[in-house]
Structure formats: C-alpha cells, structure tokens
Symmetry: D2
Subunit: 283 residues, 4 copies
C-alpha cells in the first residue's frame, strides 16, 4: 500500500503535532515518518508526515476535506501527496551530457521513482544520448531571437504530458519569467560552482582565476534571479595548483552529477520545503 | 524555562506519536523537537521528544507517574530528563592531552553544558593541563598490578560526585567489566582509527603499514569487548605516501578532537539512543 | 609530440636527480614533470620523470640502452613508457554495471586515454551494457567447477589483444594465482568497503551490522591474498541510522565509481609505483 | 644537520632541473625533496628544492654567490632559506581566541617550528590567554581614530624582534597599506567563509541568510584588497536547516582552526610560492 505525505508550514503553536497525529490515528493510519523543524526567527513550524494508507478509513479524496479543519485552525499551508502518485519529470539538456547520462542511468536502475516521458534537447549531443536509451526527445534549435517562441513550444509539450518537474541538466539557456511562473519550485538547476561564489557564466574559469583550493556544485530551485534560488544541495572537491582548468571541469562533472541527483531524489520523495528562499530538507 | 526530554523505544504500532503528543498537549506543553525512527528489521520505534516546561501542568515528579500508563500500553522503554539537569562529566586522560585540552576549552567557552568537577589523570601531562585551568585533578600511578585497586579508588571518587558521564580522552588503560557495569552507555571512548579497522594498540602504525589513503577516528560507548561498542561518530582525513607515521599521528589528533567532541555534545544533549550495539543519533 | 615517462626506484644516494636530469638535458629533452619521494624507513628513492620527446636526440629504442649505465650505477629498477603508447584495457564485469557504465562513459568522453577492445562479461547485464555502446563483449557462464577453464579462455583472449590492464568492475569471481601471475600490478579491483575493514563478501551488510557512521570504497591492485593488495585510492561517504542497507548500497555505488575511476586514471597516466604492498601516487 | 631550501620561479626552459641538481651534487649535497610545477598559461616554472647540508662544500654565505650564475642564466627569482633559520611569528588576536589557543597549543606541542616572542592583543580575552601560557603580550586599545598610531607602535615592536610572520587569528582590524607593505606575503589571515563567497563582515550571518548547505573557512595572505589575497587553504563542513546561526559559528570555529594551522605550517616549512595572486603549495 502507498503512503500519504503531508508537507506543512504554519505559525508555531501548541498542539500542532497532537492534532496532526490524532487525525492520522483516528482514521487508523500508521505514521512511518515524522520530521519537524521550527524556525525561531520567524516562529514558523514545518513538518513532513508520512503514513501508510493500509486500512486508512478515509479515501484519498476525503483527506483534504477532513484535514481542512485542522489546517484552518493552525493557519497551515499544506500539500498532500501520495507515494504512488508518480511525478512526471523532464530533463532539459544541451552540449554537456554527463548529468543527463547520470539521471537516465539512475532512472533505469530504479533509483528514481519517476516518469521520464521525454527529454528536451537543444544540442545534438543530448539528442544522441536520449536515442541510445530509446527515450523520446524533442530537439530545438534555440538562439537569442527565437528563444521565447521555443519556450512556448516547450511549454506546450510539458503541459500536454502533465510535467511537474523540470531538471536543468547543464541547460545553457536562461528561462523567462513567464516560463518559470508555470513551475514554481518545480525547476531544479545544477550550477557548477559553490554558490553564491561564481554566479553566472564560466564558474570554473572564475574559480581557476581566483586560485581557490576547493571547487563546488550547487543544485537549487530556479527563480527569476540568476543562480539565486533556494539552495537544495551543495558539495565540493579539493583542487590544487596542479589542476588545470580542464582538470577543474573534469572533477566538477562528478560533483555536478552527485549534487543534482541528490536534489532530484529529495524532490521526488517530497522531502523539500521551501521558505524564505531557503530549503528545509527532511531527509 | 527548561525543556523536558523523553527518549523512547518500543515495538512499532499505530498511535504512538498521537498518544505521546496528546500527553504533552493535554498538560499544556509545547513540543520544540520531535525526531523518530523506525527500524523495520526489528519493528522497533524510537523517538526523542523535547518540550518546554513553561506552564506545563505537571511538575517534574508527576510526569513519570502520569506517563507510565502510555508507556505500559506501548511496552515502552523510556528515559526522562530535563535540560537544566546538568550532567556531571569526568575526563580520564593520560600522556596525550590534545583531547583533554579540546574538551576543557569547549567547556570554558560554553559549548558543553556540563559540570566538570575533576579530572582523572594517570600521567603528569594530564595533571599539568588540569592545573593550568584550575580544574581539580586526581593523579594515579597505575600499572598492571594495581589497576583494579586504582579503579576502585576512581570509582569511589566518581560515586561521591555523582558522575554520570566518563570521557576517555586517549586514556591508555582498559577498564574492567566491573567498572564498566557501573556506567552502561555512559563511558565514551575515542579510538584513533576508523573502526572496525585497526582495533587495539597502535592503530596509526597499523594504518601506516597497510598503506591506507584515508585515516579515521571513532567515538563509541565502551562495552566489555575492546573497541567494539556502539559507534557514535566517525570522521576521516586523507593521507598519502608523503605522510610519515608522525604525520598520521598529527593529522589524526585533529580528527580525534572533533570526533570526540561531537559525541560528547550529542550525549549531553540526550540525542543518542543505543540499541543492538548501534546508535540512533537524533541530531 | 609525446612524452617519455620514467618510473624509478633505487636506494637513496647523492646525485640521482642530477644524473637523471643531466641525461635528459644532454639529449635535449624538456622535463615537464618530476616527482620524487624518499622512504626513509627503507632508504628508498622513488621518482617519476616525464619529458617531451620533441627534438630529443635519442630515439625510443636508444633510450634504455643509453640510460642503463645510470641505472646500473644507482641499482635502479625502472620502467620506461611513452604517452602515445596506449594501454589496452579490459573490463571484467558481472551483475552490477554501474562501474562499467561509468568507465565506458569516461572512455567515450575522452577522460581515459586507453584502448578498450572488448569487455569480459559473466552476466547478461554486463553483456547488455556493452552492446548499448557497441563494444565487443565475451560472455562466459562461470561456476565453481568450470572457473579455471574459463580463466584459460579469458587469458587467451587477453593475450591475443595484448591486454596490459584488467579492471575488475564489481567482478564477482576470485581470480586464481596462475591468472594473477600474468598481470602483476596490472589488475585493479574495486572493493566496496573501506579496507581493511569489511574484507570479503557483503561488505555493506557487514558495515550495516556494525553500525558505522561512514562507509567507503577502495581500489587496489589484486594480489594473491583477498582484498589485501596495494591500496590505490579510497573515499568515503557519511551514513546514519536512517540509512537502510539499500541506502548504503546506493550511496556506495557512487563512491565505487569515483574511487575506481581515479585508480584507472592514475594507472593510465603511469603515476603509480608499487612497493612494500603500498602505492606511491605521483599525482 | 639542517637543510637548505630554494624556492624558485622563472620562465620554463630546458635544463633548469639539470643545472639545479648539478649545482647541489657538485658541492656534495643530498636532495631530500624536489617539487616542481609548470604553469603552461604563462610558461612559468616553479620549484622547491631541499637538500641536506651535511658535508655540503659551500658554507651558507657562499651559496647565493655561487648560485647566482645559474639564477641569472635562467632569469630566476629565488629565495634561499635554511631549516634551522627559525621564523619569528607574532599572532594578532582579539575577542575570539579559539584560533589563538589552537596556535599556542600546536606551538607548545612542537607542531610548529617557530619562535613566538609575543602576542599582539586588542581585547582582554586575548591578553588573558597569553598570560595563561606565560607568553608576553602587548595589549592595545584600538579604535577608528587611533588605529594608524597603534599600527606604528605595533610595527616598532615587530621590527625590534625581527618578526617575519604575522598571523591574524580572527583579528578584527583592517591593516593599512603602509603596514602591509612591510610584510608582503608575510601576513596570514583566516577568513570565516569560503572565499570568494561572503567577503567582509559577518560571513556566517551572510551564509545563514543565503541558506547554504556547506560553510567554509579560508586562509590567505593579506593584500591591499579585503579578503582578496592569494588563497593558501580552504576547508568546509556541512550544515543544514537545523543549524542556527550559533551552530554555524560553532562549527565554523573548528574549521578556522584547521585551515589557519595548515597555512601556518606550510608557510613555516617554506612550502608556499605566490604568483599571480595564487599560491603553489609544495606539500
């Protein structure tokens, strides 16, 4: 039997967990996971509760209605989801395909519980990878002039397949506000630096010029402001004066794959709550 | 106002969190922290709940009695504690004093909320450090013959001051079963290797001989079996062929301090549950 | 123009570097890289010198003869190689193909300067991966009875193609002494633990049972004794009580890929010297 | 017998190592360590050679004169030093004393081969620590008005004792250009962030606000531009949404100590070459 997952944020107050757990217990649910966090600066309570639906006395449609009384009482923002409600994910990819390969292989291996109905390509390299694995792919020739038009075509494809997660796997085009508006906290990007250091283009070149001893990668949700969205995950690797720019790029690729795949996994498992341009990761 | 902390383990069953949180809510407590974990192999539920006692309607003595009904219902093993119930910790130390220094400095700085009434020394180096910081110290001349007698004297000192945490900071004597029996899961040792590799004496020598590329340190609760108790924390650092045995020891010292101090912190914050010779760290 | 690479070990003595660098300078070579190391316990000198052959006045065949006088003088063991002398590598792989995929993708991307004429498979999974990338593959049905016979057939294939590097990418069969004798320090294995902890079968199961807080992977040259050969590289990742055995295996896979690929890279770049069952990595 | 150390940079050309090693061999020196690096972007050659002076036929004063011919030939910038030429180091410290403690303890333990004739304090906390260990200390009351005057007094003290290394151990005052001019590449600062992220004041506050998942520390030589000097070492530690600002500061302290102590060690061992606002670390 699948699990239900509630992600909740609200002002902190006595009785929240009691009310939540009573609600689940009352209808005969067994809590498999409960994580909570309080941000004392803003007095905000966050929780993620996951319970098994076996013998749960409410069917899925009835849960929100029955839960709304508690939610209203505590002024909760909440999202309800189910573990068998598989997310439809699309990967946007361009010339560098290491992240795309990594995602596909994890998907094939069963590491990601997700649908991957197609891939958006803006470079033949990506198209080729998709074809190796027999995954449908739409290739766009994009440039500064046609980019809004292309976005519209992409958007149509996404809507048609009910896509609710976009992964920018070293995608090289900046998305428009209009596009982003359709996917709030549903676009994950990998930036090849340790943000907020080295924002924008050529982060490895910037890192190399600065002579850092560690390079990093950052996965984050895409917001209007470039490379400034809520950070989901970061990781680093040591470099030295012996490492050329080429070495930095090679080492960085391994980082990018790891950091992006962790972000995808947490998103798919509904473990991420966004607030104040930050993330709570209930891992 | 201080917090109350409940550490609980019991067979997993529906309604545990509901009953726990209701109990706290009913008496007007505000949960500040709730962590839980289920071990599906043994179907065991673990939790750590921390709530503020401000306006809590039960006084401290009444809590266990009132809670016992729930505890019995769910066959819980539980321990109740309060954040203003300061632990009395003693450090056992010998020739190498880097961990001792580290603990004292963290203590002086307020990182550890703990009493440190005295230090047990079996080497003049340790005695000297204690004196630098005006901490009472008892120095014992210990050898293979008198060790049980010395242990008894140490035990008397510990009992007198109600010591409930012993930290072996590179202490070089193996404690007897009788001694350990008095402090179950209350003796933290630092072993200077990545356990279970390099058990026993001279782990750096062993690591050097094996040619490892990474060395480690492990903090664990002391049990009868040498270096085989529940692991609390581990960390590592890279080494290379350039590192001599002396370098390994130098690098390792930094590790030992970090790994031991994390274990002490978690213990003091009642964040550790031991089961099956493993630890659950509710951090 | 390609580079020449000399890997040398000898008793330490005055004048080694002077003689080596004079030799190269005399024949008009430009040193691009020189690394050295002295093991003071055994008074052994190690070096790796790489110089460009542009305008070098000796041709390749003449180098050893002309160098032998110096080598004899200093009782050197040396190996001479050239960067355009591409190594013929074969991957042995079985059910788990993550390392195989990783190697192939790095190879395709140009990260490994190597020939990969074919793959040895003992499981349909491996065969399938090889076919996706159009790499020749030989699949063997191996069991306890026929394993020596299969080894002979494998050996014949390896000899035929002048294979001088074997990578065991989660290969599940122990190689015989006779087989290993043909490839001294030329078989790289990935062991899915932090050696010397958890030798042999099921290291993740062992790590899980012990309750470690960090898991590791180790790449090493294969010797007669199981998982006891010279360690080339190790790396680790943190785990917690929340991680199931399945999580350990998933996290470990990422480690295995990284640790194995680094070992392959260093081997291909002739950066590894083996002595005393240890490695010097001139990176 | 002590060692001589040559740190050299020059345009890359054939014969550099041959000439260097011949020079040492000719006068009967035994090379204990030779590291080199070529920056192909600027065609610059760097090396660090260390040889034992036992039976070396030139006395110390004669070395530069005799070496100058080679140096001129190859347009070398070089510095010559001797391992028994102990550096005179002074620590500048203020309110936060964790780095100061760490340096003193390493010094007392013999990890740093250095003289520490006195400490410059601008806060009673620092003065107190110095006194605990009976190290002379000069306390200055510094403010925006008197800072240049204080600097002059500090400078006089430094000159008097031939100080040739200044360590800013969480020193809270920016040094003037005039002051820095006296100690080019001889002032090591610890900045409590992963530079170039979070330059200037309150880096932990900045990191907390940005919601990073990793915090760092950076040691670097001080130049005119704030936090922009050549980076010597960096390290990081993971943080999560659970970590408060206070936790970041606590975790960061451990980083700062490690990162600063590594920089000091490398500097004392003459392992650092600065060029192009970067460092080559011959470790």
């Amino acid at each position: 039997m699948p699990n239900a997952i509630l992600l909740i944020s609200c002002p902190d107050k006595k009785g929240i967990i009691a009310n939540l757990s009573n609600f689940i217990y009352k209808y005969n649910g067994n809590i498999e996971n409960l994580d909570q966090h309080i941000d004392y600066e803003t007095n905000t309570f966050f929780t993620r509760i996951e319970w098994n639906l076996k013998n749960f006395k409410l069917n899925r449609e009835e849960i929100p209605k029955n839960f709304s009384k508690i939610a209203n009482n505590f002024k909760m923002k909440f999202s309800l989801d189910f573990t068998d409600n598989i997310i439809n994910m699309v990967v946007f990819s361009s010339k560098f395909t290491h992240c795309l390969y990594d995602i596909i292989l994890r998907y094939k291996e069963g590491q990601f519980k997700v649908n991957l109905p197609f891939i958006i390509s803006i470079h033949p390299n990506t198209t080729k990878v998709a074809k190796i694995f027999d995954i449908p792919v739409f290739e766009f020739k994009i440039n500064d002039k046609n980019r809004l038009k292309v976005e519209k075509e992409q958007l149509a494809l996404l809507k048609k397949e009910n896509i609710n997660l976009i992964v920018l796997a070293r995608y090289t085009r900046i998305l428009s506000k209009q596009f982003i508006n359709n996917f709030k906290n549903k676009i994950i990007n990998i930036h090849h630096s340790f943000l907020p250091a080295f924002i924008g283009n050529n982060p490895y070149e910037q890192a190399y010029a600065r002579g850092v001893k560690i390079i990093g990668a950052t996965s984050h949700y895409v917001t209007y402001k470039l490379d400034a969205g809520p950070i989901i995950e970061q990781d680093i690797i040591r470099v030295s004066h012996k490492d050329t720019l080429k070495d930095l790029k090679r080492k960085g690729k391994d980082l990018e794959k790891l950091v992006l795949s962790r972000a995808i996994r947490w998103h798919l498992e509904r473990k991420i709550l966004v607030y104040n341009n930050k993330t709570v990761i209930f891992d």
